[in-house]
Point group: C2
């Protein structure tokens, strides 16, 4: 194994990040969000259940990785960092009530003389707890703390060509995943066995590209559960005349391609579901037609809203968000939300996941599009029919 990208690619990301840091007056970034750590260094390990971080200081080209001793070799394998920038803490810091890992982090910051300026931390990111903040602040009395939440996320929002290629590979996998789901789901089959077929396709990938674990497990709501998103699967068998909502994904080296479709196990879906499907598909097309460089995220939502205004369908939640590199629990990037008030101007190589899901108390419908913004429009990350699938 080695870093997923060239050192040049990482150095470019670091330059862009430092520019944003300068704009915000941040001297040192302390980054714990796993995708941000990966983005800046290549680090890729399932070690984010303990405290760890990447430090990025204006005056040092290379970031530093700080983590648990047993994960340092993982950093040596997956990052481009030189040995002096991989620092490991001893195991008695792990889940200790008396020895907080942030004391170790603070010691490194002091050793480097980085404790006198403005330190930006991710104040609203999972994986950086309240206690982590408190211990860091207490240990670095000369520093001024500033909220750098989503600072790196906003650098990530425009993808490099190399990243676009990885998303497309994830898209190829996503096509296989949805095919596998549709093939596996049938009346009499256990939901868990269909989920297994989905996972097989996700991890195996294509002949050319190894699959990776998506940032969200397969969400596969059937029957009664279609009135909600975000459930997984059960031991029940699929029933005749039952809807199944599929919110799946393909992933390639941590780059995501979300894919959602609804299938109905029968030829005659309930009227409400049929009508909802056709309105949602119409609205999704209207939203897609708007996407191009220069329009805002809220413009895209407005087009959807206008497109469904003739119907009774109401959608109170955002219809999409940006995506790319990520780890559980989310493939969304926590940057753009496609909703009223989001005035982000779209740029080439932003990636949007439009998923205008509708959940009534009786039934729901989900369909999506994962697209790359281009100068004149957009490009699908995968090719999959935008349809409501009626299966036997």
């Amino acid at each position: 194994m080695a870093s997923a990208f060239s050192t040049e690619e990482y150095l470019g990301r670091i330059r862009k990040t430092k520019q944003k840091m300068a704009e915000k007056g941040v001297d040192l970034l302390v980054i714990s969000q796993p995708a941000n750590m990966n983005y800046l260094t290549g680090y890729d390990g399932w070690s984010f259940y303990v405290h760890q971080c990447v430090l990025l200081h204006q005056e040092q080209e290379e970031p530093m990785w700080l983590g648990r001793g047993m994960d340092a070799n993982g950093a040596r394998i997956t990052t481009f960092l030189t040995e002096e920038n991989i620092r490991e803490y001893s195991d008695d810091y792990v889940q200790s009530t008396i020895k907080p890992p942030m004391h170790f982090v603070a010691d490194v910051i002091k050793e480097k003389g980085w404790d006198k300026g403005v330190i930006g931390v991710e104040m609203d990111q999972f994986y950086f707890t309240h206690r982590a903040y408190v211990e860091l602040e207490r240990s670095l009395s000369r520093a001024k703390f500033s909220d750098a939440n989503a600072l790196v996320n906003w650098v990530r929002v425009v993808k490099s060509e190399a990243e676009v290629e990885f998303c497309k590979r994830a898209g190829k996998i996503a096509e296989k995943v949805m095919d596998a789901a549709r093939k596996a789901i049938a009346v009499g089959v256990r939901e868990c066995d269909a989920a297994a077929a989905v996972a097989y396709a996700q991890y195996s990938g294509t002949d050319q590209y190894a699959g990776d674990y998506p940032a969200i497990v397969p969400l596969m709501m059937a029957g009664e559960a279609t009135k909600t998103p975000h459930l997984t699967w059960t031991e029940k068998v699929y029933q005749q005349d039952e809807a199944v909502l599929l919110e799946l994904g393909g992933a390639y080296r941590r780059y995501q391609a979300p894919i959602a479709r609804t299938i109905y196990l029968g030829k005659k879906p309930p009227k409400l579901l049929n009508e909802t499907a056709s309105v949602v598909l119409e609205g999704l097309h209207k939203a897609l037609d708007t996407i191009k460089t220069g329009v805002t995220a809220e413009d895209v939502e407005a087009a959807w809203r206008k497109g469904i205004a003739h119907s009774t369908v109401v959608k109170e939640s955002r219809i999409g968000y940006s995506f790319g590199l990520n780890y559980p629990p989310d493939w969304g990037e926590q940057t753009i939300s496609v909703r009223p008030g989001d005035k982000t101007v779209l740029e080439p190589n932003m990636m949007l996941h439009l998923i205008p899901g509708i959940w009534y108390d009786e039934v729901g419908f989900e369909v999506d599009a994962s697209v790359r913004v281009t100068s004149g429009g957009y490009e699908h990350v995968y090719n999959y029919p935008l349809e409501f699938f009626l299966e036997e």
Copy 2:
């Protein structure tokens, strides 16, 4: 779908939690850790990528679930809560920089008149961010905040009979998962295809018990990567005379059964690996022999340490921890750590995962045991040979 356990079971857990709250002088608990939310209410959705919580107040029998609007039906399906205790916030709170979800939480707390006492929050749990804390504290000026980190985790540490049964079912799945891994891994096979076979077994489960997603994805380090834990898989094909570390798991309705073994693709492993394997297995047996009600966690580690003292093997990290119900990123419970200084006295129906992994710069070795503490000893959660597997 419905709650995984009887309402009686949840009410018993709630009583035990309230007792601990009383001991610590906590009037209201604000719980965001997904396993703790599930433990107290049954809530099971992949919605923990947005802010959500369970409130538990001394003076109300039922907890309250607070979350995003679209997940409220998920709460209706998976919890035992009555309608008045399911509260949903509107979607403009989601990942908003101007409308923090904790303002909604604070409003509910004030509405219930629960803002005058001591509020316990999980200060060092992922899924409760620094900003969540700050916004809650700012909005509830009459409350006193107290650290209730791991309070519910420590209630979870002793399992009910119903929970033991779920762990055993997870164990049955774990056996199938390890079989699937050993069957799939062979010279010339891509690592990703073996991972796919593992995932299939995990989700599919047994004929009797549907699998669930384990809290940790398959960790499958091969070749060079065996010098570290916590990596996943690649597109490489397995090589002759290569070691593979397998840290896998079975899960049943969010209850976990971690299983780890090492295989070697050949008949003549390097001397260092062979010797390490035999020392580690010997030490693990010594540790297991110590386990029974009344001994401490550090006693178990001491037995391991004594058991390997004759060798050159050194293990600086903890050799185990408690496990049970969990969500990504960890199946560990963040309670017991089997290491020097942990004086937790073992009780019947505690679950320990002993995994004395060793990672040298050349190669590593992992083997484990997942056990339930009994009055006179312990019981394996699954039956799988404690061996270093040499495969063709």
